[in-house]
Structure formats: C-alpha cells, structure tokens
Amino acid sequence: MANVTISPTRQELTRLKGKLRTARRGHKLLKDKRDELMKQFLDIMKEAKALRNEVEKDLETVYGSFTVASALMSSEAIEQALIYPKQSVELTMKFKNVMSVNVPQYDFHTKTQSDSDIYPYGFAATSGELDTAVDALGKVFLKMLKLAQIEKAGQLMAEEIEKTRRRVNALEYVMIPNTEESIRYITMKLDENERSATTRLMKVKDMILNQAIQERRERDERALAAREG
C-alpha cells in the first residue's frame, strides 16, 4: 500500500477510477510516442553513423592536401593567403517538429555565388595544391553541415526518448499499480462496511423480534394467571 492515508469513501473511489483511466490512456499514448520516436531515432542514427564515417574520411584527405600545400609553401604564406576570407557563410535555422521534438534544420547561404570564386587569395603567390585543398574542404563542408543537423537531431531526440521512456515506466510500474491497489483497498473496505451494516441490521432485527416474543409471552402469562386466579 503506497498511499496509506486514502479515505475509503465512494467519492475517493470515483476519483481514483478516473485517475486510473487517465493514467492508462496516457501510458498508451506515451508508449506509442516512444516507439515512434525510437523508430525515427534509429533511422537518424544509422544515417549519422554512415555520414560521420564519410566526413571523417574526407576530412583526413583534406588535411592531407593542406599538409601537401604547406609543404610547398611556407606556413606564413598560407596564413597570409587564408587570413582574410572572401567567402562568408550565413546560416539560417528552421525547426522541424518530429514527434514534438524541435529539430533544427540548417540552411546556409554563401556571400559569393559562384563555387569557383571562393579563393581568398591571388593565384600568383600560392601553389595549386592549396586550391585543391580549399576546394575539397568546401565539398566536405556541405556534408559536415548535414552531419551537424543529423547529429543534433539525434541528440535532442535521445533526450526526449529518455524522458518518454522514464514516463512510460513510471506510469506502468508505479502509478498504475498503485492506483489499482488503492482502488482494490477502497472496494474491499466499502464491501466490508456494507457487510457489517447488514450484520448489524440482522442483529437489531433479532433483538427487536426477541423483545416482541418476550412481551407476548409475558402478556400470555399474565392473562393465564388472571383466568386461573
């Protein structure tokens, strides 16, 4: 008995029955939510895993080409070439509602329109390898942005799933059994009261009956005595 202070009244019973109904419905809904979230979450995570592998591999290649570039140029020259970017990226963020989880959707705009116009340096003082490296990085960046979106969605959904799972379990293993227990307790108590009321009535009836018989007997005796006397 989790809640010992419940009063065994009909009103309380009705209240608890309502509570149980709500809890059952909530439990079912939350369970559905959890299952659907889980389904979408696993899809996202599979995608994230694949994309991450890809991005990590690509980035390694890019770092490789930067290393080659820095072997051909002095590090100061590279720094100088890259220090003032021509390109600038602006990110807009929208939200998508996935099973009541707000998931960000990134969309980015670059300042320069053409892809070939991203090099922030003149070609005279730099080596061609640097162009390749920057170009490759630009391509990887698209994937990285996608990765960011997916991973963030995954993280947010993981949180939501955890919360929902806890709620489902709390309802299933604590709330619903406790309420059922309380209802059983009240029902038993009420039945008990009813039985005791019946017994009391029977007892009272017996007593009244006995009294009536006694009175009748006394009256008969008195009448008998009067006739004999």
């Binding site: 995570m45 990590e56 390694e60 930067f66 929208k94 090099y119 960011a148 993981a158």
Partner: protein, 105 residues
C-alpha cells in the same frame, strides 16, 4: 524563426585554417581551457553550429554535455589534423545507449 546564425570552428590553427577560407568563423585554441571559454561565449551569441576538434574535445566532455540538450549551439566533433580519435563515433554510440538503454546498433 529564421534569423541568421554563424558557424564556428574551434581547434588548433593547422586544423582550422582551411575553414577560414570557406568563410566560417575560426577560433584557434591551443588548449581545452581556451576552447571552453570560446564555447561558452559563442553559446550566448548567435552561433548555431560549433565544430570542435576531437583533440580539444577530450577534456571538454562536461561542456559538450551541457549543450547537448540545448537547441543551439550544436557542438559537432570533427577529427583534427592528427586524424580521428573515434570520439565522435563513440558519441553517437552513447546517444543510442542513452535513448534505448542498451547498445543495439
């Protein structure tokens, strides 16, 4: 909500210099403490995505966890120039474990 946000890259200079050419905001950080300050500052500003090198992320898991449940910024680990350390991958694994309660993939 469609404001514009910035994208930041935090890491050692060699790892981040390339991103500079792409027009991202780069923040060279030599040590985790420096990166921690930058992340906290960026989180308050309009920064939606932070790419952080794994080399720095090793000692910053508390900061990363702090922003994990926030809508922004999204802190995404990328391998630094020394190659992948597998933290990003194990992070995915961890979110799955967190959600499912067991490792099922």
């Amino acid at each position: 909500m469609a404001n514009t946000f910035s994208i930041a890259v935090i890491g050692d200079w060699d790892s981040v210099m390339g991103f500079k050419a792409l027009g991202l905001d780069t923040y060279p950080a030599a040590n985790p403490e420096e990166a921690r300050g930058i992340i906290d500052r960026l989180a308050k500003e309009d920064c939606a995505v932070i790419y952080l090198t794994e080399q720095l992320a090793v000692n910053l898991s508390d900061v990363i966890d702090k922003y994990k449940d926030e809508l922004k910024p999204a802190i995404i680990l990328i391998p630094g120039k020394d190659g992948s350390m597998g933290i990003g991958k194990s992070d995915i694994q961890r979110s799955i474990e967190r959600a499912v309660g067991a490792d099922i993939l």
